[in-house]
């Protein structure tokens, strides 16, 4: 049995999305040692998978990758990917003990050059989780081109142990004998940046997302529009046809008591408008219709962005969609209530995108159990002082960054991460405990 390795840090940042990366950088720039823990193979979270950001239409990857590259090269930051936090125990006012498990990647991370020769040699093809199953990936693979760290991983669950990757690797970095490594981390502070989960539309069977191939989620459309997209073009997943009548259904899993999420997700209106504009660019002949209850364009430049979409020809229908039915040719009939007239109407489309909402991520509850991690009534982390110190959790020394505390867009996430890191730095400075 391998022994538990012990490490000390000034801060542990849980979650390697944009909030975690920003927090880690700020704390590390102040001279403190930071451990950034990410459960996935790559840092960058959901943002690195996006096509562009609203309302500027800047390339998401172009904003994310410099930050990621900076954090990866920072001398004060240690990054553990494919790592799970099992428990965090508060020891006294200024120190925590964290138990974490770094899962085996079956690659010597220090030697992998990301050449992808292992990927080329691997004969196994399984659905690619980073492309939402729309295309295959190998069992020896790099998650995607701009992944960080850009090193391979072996999907041991789907590996046939043929050894082709090991034979092809020029640096001999593949090691099937790797085991999970357990660590005990002593840290002065913890930043929780575990992000959010997206609503699973299968929970609304009347939208047929489980059975109709051409009913997809907004995150799948992000992938279809991204530079590292699965199909190289925007086509329907059912038959490869270029869509020309596209619909967005806003508030799927948000503002809906029937699915247990009564709150607005804050980002769906704007990301849908962004995607509609991008679709108008890549499919100039397509009709794009957005079915909405209310358009909430509350941020800087958002209203102008909405007006711009209308000017480009995006059709906005104030209507509540009740049912989506698939036809034999894969087209879809939307039955909706026209809110302006109060009448029930039907419209045909050939691709429907469900603008799915933001839900809390319950992971922190698992590792903070004994300290009674408190949540607000919508299951997001409880903010101890919402107005004056929004990054304080109910546990002293544990700070909240990004969507851990509620739905927010990327600029607000960066601001929240800035606030969390400043509070963390202040807290570490007050610490008198030697660790």
């Amino acid at each position: 049995m391998p022994s538990i390795q012990k490490l000390n840090f000034d801060a542990v940042v849980v979650g390697g999305g944009i909030a975690g990366v920003e927090s880690a950088l700020n704390i590390a720039n102040s001279g403190y040692k930071v451990l950034l823990v990410e459960k996935d193979l790559t840092i960058g979270g959901k943002m690195i998978l996006l096509s562009k950001v609203f309302p500027t239409l800047d390339c998401a990857a172009c904003i994310t990758t410099p930050k990621i590259s900076e954090v990866a090269r920072h001398p004060n930051v240690t990054i553990f990917t494919q790592t799970e936090v099992k428990a965090i125990h508060k020891q006294d006012n200024h120190y925590f003990k964290a138990e974490i498990v770094k899962h085996a990647r079956f690659i010597d991370e220090s030697n992998c050059t990301g050449c992808q020769l292992c990927e080329e040699a691997c004969p196994v093809v399984v659905p690619d989780q980073y492309q939402y199953g729309m295309v295959g990936r190998k069992a020896a693979y790099i998650p995607f081109n701009i992944a960080s760290p850009r090193i391979a991983a072996i999907d041991i669950e789907n590996c046939i142990l043929c050894g082709a990757c090991e034979k092809a690797c020029p640096t001999q970095c593949i090691d099937f004998m790797q085991h999970d490594e357990e660590y005990q981390i002593i840290t002065r502070s913890v930043v929780v940046a575990t992000g959010f989960n997206l609503f699973d539309p299968v929970k609304i069977p009347r939208f047929s997302s489980e059975t109709a191939q051409n009913v997809i989620t907004s995150m799948q459309m992000e992938r279809l529009l991204a530079p590292t997209r699965p199909y190289n073009h925007v086509i329907r997943p059912s038959d490869g046809r270029i869509p020309d009548k596209i619909a967005y259904v806003l508030c799927t899993g948000s503002r809906d008591l029937s699915v247990g999420n009564p709150i607005c997700s804050q980002i769906c209106c704007m990301y849908s408008i962004k995607q509609a504009q991008l679709l108008m660019g890549s499919l100039p002949m397509a009709d794009v219709t957005i079915y909405y209850i209310n358009i909430r364009s509350f941020g800087k430049g958002f209203e102008e962005f909405y007006e711009q979409a209308k000017g480009m020809g995006v059709n906005f229908v104030k209507g509540k969609v009740g049912k989506i039915t698939e036809k034999s040719n894969g087209n879809l009939t939307l039955r909706y209530e026209d809110i302006k007239t109060g009448k029930l109407k039907e419209a045909d489309h050939d691709l429907v995108i469900l603008s799915v909402g933001v839900l809390s991520n319950d992971d922190p509850q698992q590792f903070f159990a004994e300290n009674e991690w408190k949540k607000d009534k919508f299951n997001f982390a409880l903010q101890k002082d919402l107005f004056f110190k929004p990054s304080l959790s109910n546990i002293e020394g544990v700070f909240l960054a990004g969507t851990t505390s509620g739905p927010m867009d990327i600029p607000d996430t960066i601001l929240s991460a800035g606030a969390a890191s400043m509070e963390t730095i202040r807290y570490i400075k007050q610490s008198t405990v030697e660790i």
């Binding site: 004969p123 196994v124 093809v125 399984v126 659905p127 729309m134 295309v135 295959g136 990936r137 041991i156 669950e157 789907n158 590996c159 046939i160 142990l161 043929c162 050894g163 090991e166 034979k167 690797c169 001999q172 593949i174 090691d175 099937f176 004998m177 191939q213 699965p230 199909y231 190289n232 073009h233 086509i235 997943p237 059912s238 038959d239 490869g240 046809r241 270029i242 002949m285």
Partner: protein, 92 residues
């Protein structure tokens, strides 16, 4: 050096059994890929026509062709006159 390079997957075989469904999936993928390659030959195909020839659903056909496109075995050659479907060809 060559000896060391091939060692670890063999060692892993002693403690890890490859599940049957993983082996079956690999066989299935290879057989469909072979059929797609044979049917496509030197011709250009769109997804519905290829699916009909394969007697497979268009959704599944799209998955396999797009995976082959990703791995550089298939290329996109253009779009039809109606702007409805792209054509794909085996990369020689």
């Amino acid at each position: 050096m060559e000896e060391n390079k091939e060692q670890t997957f063999r060692q892993k075989r002693e403690t890890h059994t490859v599940p049957q469904h993983v082996k079956d999936k690999l066989k299935e993928y290879n057989s469909i890929k072979k059929r797609i390659t044979e049917i496509m030959g030197d011709e250009e195909w769109n997804i519905p026509n290829l699916a009909a020839k394969l007697e497979m659903s268009t959704t599944e056909t799209l998955y396999y062709v797009m995976s082959m496109l990703k791995f550089g075995q298939v290329v996109t050659t253009g779009v039809d006159d109606m702007d409805e479907y792209y054509f794909y060809k085996i990369k020689k």
